[in-house]
Amino acid sequence: MSAPAGGGRRAVAVLIGVSGYARAANEFSRIPAVEQNIKKLEKVLKDPGSGVCSSGKVKTVHNPEHAGVVWERIDAAAARAEDVLLCYYSGHARVDDRYDKLYLSLSDCTPDNLFVNGLAVEDLLKRLEEIRHQCAPLHIVLVLDCCYSGQAVLEAGTEAARAHYWVLASTSATREVSCEPSGEDGCTPFTREFAAVLSDGVPHAPRVTMGALCGRLEDTMRQQRTEVFDPWLIHYKAGPEVVVSHARDVPGDGVSASESPQPALLASLGSRLQALWRLPGVQALPAGILGAATAAKQQLLDGTVPLWRRCVAWLAVVAALGGLAAGVQYGFAGSDTSCPPPLELRVLTSPEIRGAVRTAATAYEESDANQRALRRGDGHASAPDGCRAVHLTVFDAPSDKVGDAFARADTWSGSRVSEDGTDSGDPVGAPPEDGAGVDPADPTDAFDSVHPSNPDTTGQTASGTTSFGSAGATAGGSSAGTAGGTSVATAGGSSAGTGTSAATPGGSADSAKHFIPLNDVGPQPDIWIPDTSAEVALAREATSGSPVVRLGTGTPVAYSPLVLGLPSRTAVQLPGVSVEITWNDLLKAVSGLPDPPRLLRPSPTTSGAGLLHTVGRYLAGDGSLPDTGADTSGGLDTVLAPDVVAAIEQKLSASGFPSGDSTELLDRVAHRAAARPGRRIENLEALVSEKALVDFNRAAEGAPGTGDGGDRCSGFRAAESLTAYYLKGVPALDHPFVPVSWTGADEDRVQRSDAVNRFRAWLLGKDGQSQLAAADYRKARTGGVPPLADHDSALGCSHSGAQPSIPIHAADLTARRLRAVIGAYDKARAPSRVLILLDVSPSMREGRKKAEAEAVVARALEVLGPEDTFGVWAYPKSDTQRTGHRELVPLGTGVKQAREGLRAVEKAELGRTTGTAMYEVLTKALDTMRHAPGKERTEQAILLVTDGGDDREPGDKGQATAAHRFFNRLKDDSAATVPFVVVDVGRPGCGAYELDIISGSSQCLPAKGDVAKELAGKLAVVDTPDPADGRTP
């Protein structure tokens, strides 16, 4: 780096100040501070000691009337300058917004004529550049102290006025500066600081260069605030380095802490040693050591003293020195009396109870119970009392995903990839794209060889997992269709842990390639609160013998019985029917109704409530579950016979696509009701939890009747509510609190365990239970039956729909029984048919869109059962045929071919030039699904996976026509409705309005990481029409 230019006292400066304006009644105010600015700078630049200008080399220009004056002065100065020319301006300025150009005012200007009569900074920059060029090697520095001066820096970088010299601006392009004089010298803040650096110098530098000045000025100005209270930023454009002052900073002058950590370290060390000194006994130590050393000196050095005494003496000295060292170490480590950060507890819940647990957790965090220190392993407290001991993070996931995650617990933390150890450096933790390590021809080989055989001795796996248990394990997963194969799609991995999928509720097969517990479910939980102990039984089976995770004993914290909800106007048609009733009796009563209602139930795979309702429906028709002995001896075979179960499932409408959980099911009901006059609820029977039903009966937020902290019973609607019927023998949701411990987590095992136990104790205590009761749960501590005078609970209010005096049923459900039920369900439910429409336009190449689309398709295929069929179409058809589609997988393909289907999707070639014509293919899909032959009672849906809808220009006639035709088709009442679910892999998800309309807004999912979590539920929450509306389902 060459030495900076300048130095000596040969610089010339032109200081231009516009402090007053010629015209009367000018909106530009006088600025006395400008005069002070000029005066100050002149003084500093001419300073005999540090200034770079000799006397006579500083030209001041006060209130030039027009630009000509300015040019003259600048030219004259340039002619005299030998090495450095400094140009400074201070006055009013404005930016012409039309062209983003800054204009400096002159004394003849008004705000109205500024853009004509003022000095355009662009012209100034150009003129200075010409000068620089002609008078090389002259160095130029331009400094502006005015409003919006940062705009000059921007202009100095553009083509028009490229400046190869320093431009320093007092503020940003969009900030004004105050005209008020400030401080003793009456200068503006920027010029004051600028002059201060020139006269005081920069720390550790023998003189001041522009670079150092700008850096220092940046730091000092940022401490001040602009007129809109943000930090004051200066802006500059660098040029070749020049010296602007000979001032030297005296050392020891205000080094900021962040530049030099040493002083802070020493200071804190000092304070810690002081704290150490105050401890009892410490002050005696030096004297003691000295005394001991003196006394021992003789013994240490005297050769006549016996060896053993000398050794003891030396040991004592060493021990004393060790103590001293420990004290110093302690001084470094710090005796901190401030609170340490709290211990973090990760709480995984079911989606339904998440809200209530979050509210309770907040109350616990702020309670006194959380201010007592936890115990460490050594018995000592981890922090002073009065500190917040624990911080809770609460998150949720559907039950099938949680089951899958526990089954693959060894990969949950992410530090291990999969059991077969095929981690070979692909950054996202999966085998590389060329498939090393797994045979792409048949990944099931790898799968079977790694994992023990299915623990279910009957050899039957739950829900169709066999055929595509490793659907995702296509190691050759590079998207062959993309140019150069540089897509960052994650390659296939072997499906570790799918052997246990049979043990998970619903047994959804996981495409290992796309399932990452940490990302798909959430953090490794310390506490797990699912809906029901049934899920725990299954997970315990999956994790038995796991070296990684241990599930503790579950303790119920809240109950919610499972109920069948009938609209109150239907309930009144059933006089004499007790609200506590067996399934068989209820079915008999309802069948007598003139208009039998539809039976809706959440998915048994994704919802604990759905699972237990299914168990109850299949097994507790007469009001009690069979003995557990029946599980082993084949005693369930009769009651779970395929035709029996099929007959049951047939009556469950929309059974092919059940909704995610009770809350979601009732949300859909409420949504549909809101669209009807009088908010009329459709004619249905909803199999849900008592809590979800009571929540449904609350008035909408903001509507009359909703109190906040007022009478707890005032929140319920009087009409259009659901009445709960309690099904005998059906087990209640018991929300067990399950501590989860992870091997390798030894740093704070005792503390963590203490923290978990305390939270559980609080949840089961008075405060925690009243929190849960306020969320419409039944208290665990009262055994699930609220006492009459329980003021925390609204269950007993007259319009709640619930009967809290009816006791709950507990049941010990074994994993074996659950799997039997799940298996029967999978076999018997109505087949469904899904047509997947995949966008293969060129924009799908970007980033991870294709990989996300594949993950979506994989998840959709997972949800299907053994009798289901699917098809995949890709659109546009080709680069030459925009309005068409290619058939990747023919509609009607069985789910056994899901793996091939997924592979076809991965291999699908993306277009190069032609975008999508979406409406045409949507119309074709709708027509095909409506009219294609399918089994009776087949449920259908169209899954649209796209990154943005239709690519034609808005206003394109073809698009308008096609859209018009499609939307007409969609509204066609006479034809069968086929619901759409849209997943948008573009950014932002679901940003295109037409996607909203197609899907009905709650069915459009943005493809963020958690889409897979929701898709199972959404694929199912279909807008099935109410038969009462006259449309056929």
């Binding site: 340490p340 993070t393 390798g744 932002p988």
Partner: protein, 500 residues
């Protein structure tokens, strides 16, 4: 467009045919160090002492994992790339190519920041997880440092890092990591709507509020969209509102009036200037709303620019992006080495690689806000060459800077200098989804970052932000007034910031 004709600058007196001068500039003589044995010895002793101190400091509190073998991959725990470009994975892949004996692997954390933090803190506190490098939100530095979960960064950071961003890795006077990417919010506005009603672009929050409320009042369009859902976005918007009134949290003495003003302004803006469903809106939903063309203003991060360019009809004519009329929150993420990292030396090398000039330039070009100033200035014509250009998808790559200009400077939108990447048919006219802001917006982005302010620096940030969110949510739902919310906030934040 050139400005209208006006009086040309005075061009009298051409300069003399030669400019006087020219003795060569005075160069001070340099004197070499006097090389004495004593000087050498002193230097050596100083170096040795320094090394010892550094080693001791580095050793404090660190117990390497038992299995810290060199061949184990370096584990980097990070949330996924929510921009579409996957640039972080690409950088790691390139590291693996260049360092085959010390490969790195990303552990993909949950998408939500709260859950990322929870997993990292829970795993590092308990000693499970085995992560070597962690990607931390800027608000987490204090908690991780004070909790002994990460190691100090042993050397001072280069001056190239933006100063305000550098401060986010400092805790208790020490440096704990290296800034990876940063973020500062911008104001997007729909010029068509403003022109329709004859409004100028607002320069202060007061002006923005009154314009937004006026527009909202006319019922044809909405005034403003931001992030008021109950999550970190709400804390961010609340802090910006409080700062815009000159207040701050923790409250300085006598400052309660300004906090009240800020909260009342936010509440009023929500009630009278924003759509009704604004309490469920996060960053993505804001963009969706704004892209419909019926909202006048949007406060959002730079990522929104490209989303809008992709999705919004008439984007180029309608949307103007500028700085917020007040301070923005400083966002972003930093990389740090965990306390129990198996091979901290290599972990640090990985971090240095991911945050060097090339990587930062690549991040900027592909959708992140870089933490180094050099990335924005394109000094020496620097462009991203470390990772391959994204696959050619037929749309022009926007944001290519000019080459060969020593002082950098911004390229006008649409200019493609010789040798720029990704030329393609210009017909589509849309910027590629790969880059974030185009290069002519880099100065705006850089200025916004420099102006941005950090949220409170505290090891108890999680509790603090939760208290802000729940108080603000209660206020916005009209269950308490702005003044009550201010009192509650002051009280609760005083408590949480003490760790209670």
């Amino acid at each position: 467009m050139t400005p209208p004709r006006r009086r040309p600058p005075h061009r009298a007196l051409p300069l003399p045919p030669h400019c006087p001068l020219r003795r060569p500039p005075h160069r001070p003589l340099r004197r070499p160090l006097h090389r004495t044995v004593a000087a050498k010895a002193a230097t050596a002793a100083a170096v040795l002492t320094a090394l010892c101190v550094l080693a001791a400091a580095g050793c404090a509190g660190q117990a390497p994992r038992a299995d810290g073998a060199a061949t184990e991959p370096i584990l980097l725990a990070s949330g996924s790339d929510l921009t579409s470009s996957g640039i972080r994975q690409s950088l790691i892949k390139q590291w693996n190519v260049e360092h085959p004996d010390h490969p790195a692997r990303i552990v993909v954390l949950p998408d939500e920041a709260d859950l990322q933090r929870s997993q990292l803190v829970g795993a590092l506190q308990s000693g499970s997880g085995g992560y070597d490098v962690v990607n931390l939100d800027v608000t987490w530095t204090a908690e991780f440092a004070a909790g002994g979960l990460i190691q100090r960064w042993p050397e001072p950071l280069p001056a190239d890092f933006i100063a305000s961003v550098k401060n986010t890795v400092v805790h208790d006077g020490k440096v704990w990591g290296v800034p990876f990417n940063t973020d500062a919010a911008l104001l997007y506005y729909n010029k068509e709507i403003l022109d329709k009603y004859g409004f100028q672009a607002p320069r202060t929050w007061g002006q923005l509020m009154s314009v937004a409320e006026d527009i909202q009042d006319r019922h044809a369009e909405s005034g403003y969209t931001a992030q008021l859902k109950e999550y970190e976005g709400l804390t961010v918007n609340v802090m910006e509102a409080i700062w815009a009134s000159g207040g701050d949290l923790p409250a300085e003495d006598g400052n309660s009036g300004r906090i009240q003003e800020g909260l009342n302004n936010l509440k009023e803006l929500y009630r009278q200037g924003m759509p009704d469903d604004s309490l469920t809106v996060d960053e993505t939903a804001s963009v969706t709303e704004f892209s419909g063309g019926k909202v006048a203003f949007m406060r959002n991060w730079p990522f929104a620019y490209n989303q809008l360019a992709d999705r919004m009809p008439g984007f180029a004519d309608k949307v103007v992006v500028t700085g917020l009329p007040g301070p923005s929150v400083l966002g972003g993420q930093n990389l740090a080495v965990t306390a129990h990292a198996g091979n901290p030396a290599w972990a640090r090398r990985l971090i240095r690689y991911l945050t060097d000039r090339q990587s930062e330039r690549c991040l900027l070009e592909r959708g992140f806000a870089a933490t180094r100033e050099s990335a924005y200035l394109g000094n020496g014509g620097q462009i991203c060459t470390r990772v391959p250009a994204p696959p050619d998808n037929g749309t022009p790559e926007n944001g290519t800077p000019e080459n060969g200009t020593p002082e950098g400077g911004s390229a006008g939108a649409g200019s493609t200098g010789a040798g720029s990447a990704g030329t393609g048919p210009a017909g589509e006219g849309r910027p590629s989804a790969q880059s974030a802001l185009p290069a002519d917006k880099y100065p705006l982005l850089l200025a916004s970052i420099k102006r941005a302010r950090a949220r409170p620096v505290t090891p108890y940030y999680a509790a603090f932000t939760h208290s802000v969110q729940s108080t603000a949510a209660t206020m916005l739902r009209n269950r308490i007034t702005g003044n009550e919310a201010a009192d509650t906030l002051m009280h609760r934040s005083a408590r949480t910031l003490q760790g209670r």
